[in-house]
Amino acid sequence: MTLDLPVIFMALMGLAVLLYVVLDGYDLGVGMLLPAANEREQNVMVSSIGPFWDANETWLVLGVGLLLVAFPAANAIVLGALYLPVVAMLIGLMLRGVAFEFRVKAQGWHRELWNWLFWFGSFLATLSQGLMLGYYITGFASGFGYFLFALVVGASLCGGYVLLGATWLIIRTEGELQRKAVSWARWGLLWIALGVALVSIATPLVSETVRLKWFDFPRTLWLMILPLASAAAWLWVWTLTGRMKRGQAAPEWGPFAGTVAIYVLSFLGLAYSLFPYLVIDRITIWQAAAHPAALKVMLIGTLIVLPFIVAYTVLSYWIFRGKAPENLYD
């Protein structure tokens, strides 16, 4: 039996990107919410993501690493076209990453500065990722209209990450901060609805390939499961946060789980639209793939190591379960 290596690596890369978006999404979201909280709350918020952010970002390195090593031809096109948003994202991630350590050690106005840079870095990184997504799904088309579209996708992704961050805080915090997180989550929900709707409408309009894939009866009926399930998850999170707002009982993990479901479903929809293209209508995964010999070597390593990575990631979340303390460095 022969393995279709490019398809396997496409799936692995997709998994890495999806995990990155969900995992770093919540910690970037928490970063963007910092200015809305008081000093004590800010410390709790940062300590709720402190043990995890570093490993979360490693999924980005794996995702872009797989694009680089498994699909070198696409890597050059994608990163070449996204040059400036990529640089902006990297600068954002740098500022945010070092601010974790600097804000704890600084005092007075220095501390204020690093808090501000923490927020700014989180925001810049998220906005750039949204811009990248916006340009990517329109096949890097240029023009003011496309720029506006990318900008709206960027703003929506900020809302989407705020939603992840807020629902994460619902699990990890209590009292007044948790109540604040509930209302932040409801803001985020409105934005993510806008973003997902925009992308869903735009992709078939821009690309005939996508249009034909989605509007082909009777397949369309099956495919409607994706948007319907997303809508159900959205309603569920809206209902749960509504109950929390009124002080009624609701599972704390519910809103986060529902949000992750929205991300997974949207991701599947996008993946279905694009497959087998890496750059829509231009380059497929088979055209861009590296030599099978290299792919095989990487696949073996991935299959051996990935279970360990998953195992110790789960272990780390288990060790740091429960409500976040105000100060992580005891």
Binding site: F52, D54, V69, I91, G301
Partner: protein, 448 residues
């Protein structure tokens, strides 16, 4: 002209990034093992100074590690944005090596760093020590993969051409290519020295601020001793590495010594200004037959000069000067380390002027590492992968304007980060309460 300018900007940008990045791993690779040692000592003795030392250096480690991570992420993108030709030509070799680094090292370090930093009261003692060991193992493993790739780019081996592409024929030969064992050992020792001088430097700084501090006295003493052992070892390994370069990369070696003509009984240059256009040295001061003696262990031996390589030679002056700067800094570190051992023999407290000397040498490892890196990377030019891929053929489509804008952004961000880093380090080392000298405590209180 436009393209040539963009290439220079692409090189400048990547060079800036990689040079800025390496500052931090060159500390963390070895500091991670120091942390294991501090942590085990605390577990073994239960003495609070060890805990204090461990916690202080954990904070410094966390900060340094974060700097390394965020600048490393930048590099993973720049391979694609700045050097697309690199991946399309040798991606089947470089790709798997980079992928193995991410898979086996990055996740391990990043995940267990969280446990090591914040999990002391959440996991049993053995698991906490285990986390520290895994973080250290991860950083060393990361160095292993990245140096395997870098060494392969310097001295490629084990590859074959199949279906018009370069792929690995024998992975063991690719990884353990001719320069790898030397380069890897040289880098690990460089990291050990960088971390050791950072520790002795900041401990000395601490003792200048709070004389008699128990933890700082102890760490300074260990670091002085370790530095005195490592510095000569590094000189020895460096010499072996140089001989390996002579064998496998003669053009680089000729540039390091500014030897333009192949001849017998080559003099060792103490000072000169290499003149690339005229292909000769100006204002040379030299020891007759010195280079032949050092390189071939025979005063009359012939040494290959740059004339044998036609137009394919690296820019000589930067390689020549960077090599001398690296050796110079290394010798100063060696002298200070031995003098430090002599001056503190028999458990005498270090005199203040010695403390100032060590404090001044806090970041000396960085200077040597950067100079060594300039030698090895500029010395490989005009090749990106020796004999296989030219640097100019690997550059990307980014325009000069894009590169200029992003370069400015990086410079601003990096300057901010570097200044903040150095300020926080000296602040962390200088402030804080002393644990066991009551006099130092009083000094601390009076300041408040």
């Amino acid at each position: 002209m436009e393209a040539a300018e963009a290439l220079q900007l692409a090189r400048a940008q990547f060079g800036l990034n990689i040079a800025f990045h390496i500052l931090f791993p060159s500390i963390t690779i070895a500091l991670a093992w120091y942390l294991v040692y501090f942590r085990v000592q605390y577990a073994r003795t239960g003495r609070p100074e060890w805990l204090h030392t461990y916690k202080l250096w954990t904070k410094i480690f966390a900060l340094t590690f974060a700097m390394g991570v965020v600048t490393g992420i930048t590099m993973s993108f720049q391979f694609g944005t700045n050097w697309p030709g690199f991946m399309s030509k040798v991606g089947n070799i470089a790709g798997p090596l980079l992928a193995y680094e991410v898979l086996t090292a990055f996740f391990l370090e990043a995940t267990f760093l969280g446990v090591m930093l914040f999990g002391m009261n959440r996991v049993p003692n053995w698991a906490h020590i285990g986390s520290a060991v895994l973080v250290a193992a991860g950083t060393s493993l990361s160095a292993f993969w990245i140096l395997a790739l870098n060494s392969w780019m310097q001295t490629p081996a084990g590859h074959i051409v199949a279906d018009g592409q370069i792929i690995a024929g024998d992975w063991m030969e690719v990884i353990f290519n001719p320069s790898f064992p030397y380069r890897f050992t040289h880098m690990m020792l460089a990291s050990a020295l960088t971390a050791t001088f950072l520790i002795s430097g900041l401990s000395a700084w601490r003792l200048l601020k709070a004389p008699g501090d128990g933890g700082a006295t102890r760490t300074l003493r260990s670091a002085v001793l370790i530095g005195a052992v490592l510095a000569p070892l590094q000189a020895f390994v460096g010499d072996l590495h140089g001989l390996n370069t002579l064998e496998h990369q003669p053009a680089k070696l000729a540039a390091m010594e500014a030897i333009w003509q192949t001849e017998k009984g080559v003099p060792l240059l103490l000072f000169a200004i290499p003149n690339q256009e005229a292909r000769r040295n100006d204002y040379a001061i030299s020891i007759p037959k010195g280079a032949s003696l050092i390189l071939k262990h025979d005063a009359d031996a012939e040494v290959t000069g740059l004339d044998k390589f036609g137009p394919d030679i690296p820019p000589v002056a930067p390689v020549f000067f960077a090599f001398r700067a690296m050796v110079g800094v290394g010798l100063c570190m060696l002298a200070l380390a031995w003098f430090g051992v002599w001056a503190t023999r028999g458990n005498t407290a270090a005199p203040r002027w010695l403390l100032w000397a060590y404090a001044g040498f806090t970041f000396s490892g960085w200077v040597a590492v950067i100079c060594g890196w300039l030698v090895t990377e500029i010395g490989r030019q005009p090749w990106l992968v020796s004999g296989i891929l030219r640097t100019s053929d690997a550059a990307g489509p980014a325009s000069g304007a894009q590169l200029g804008a992003s370069l400015t952004g990086y410079i601003l961000t990096y300057s901010l980060m570097l200044i903040a880093y150095m300020v926080v380090l000296t602040h962390l080392a200088g402030k804080g309460e002393s644990r066991d000298d009551p006099r130092a405590n009083l000094v601390g209180l009076a300041k408040k």
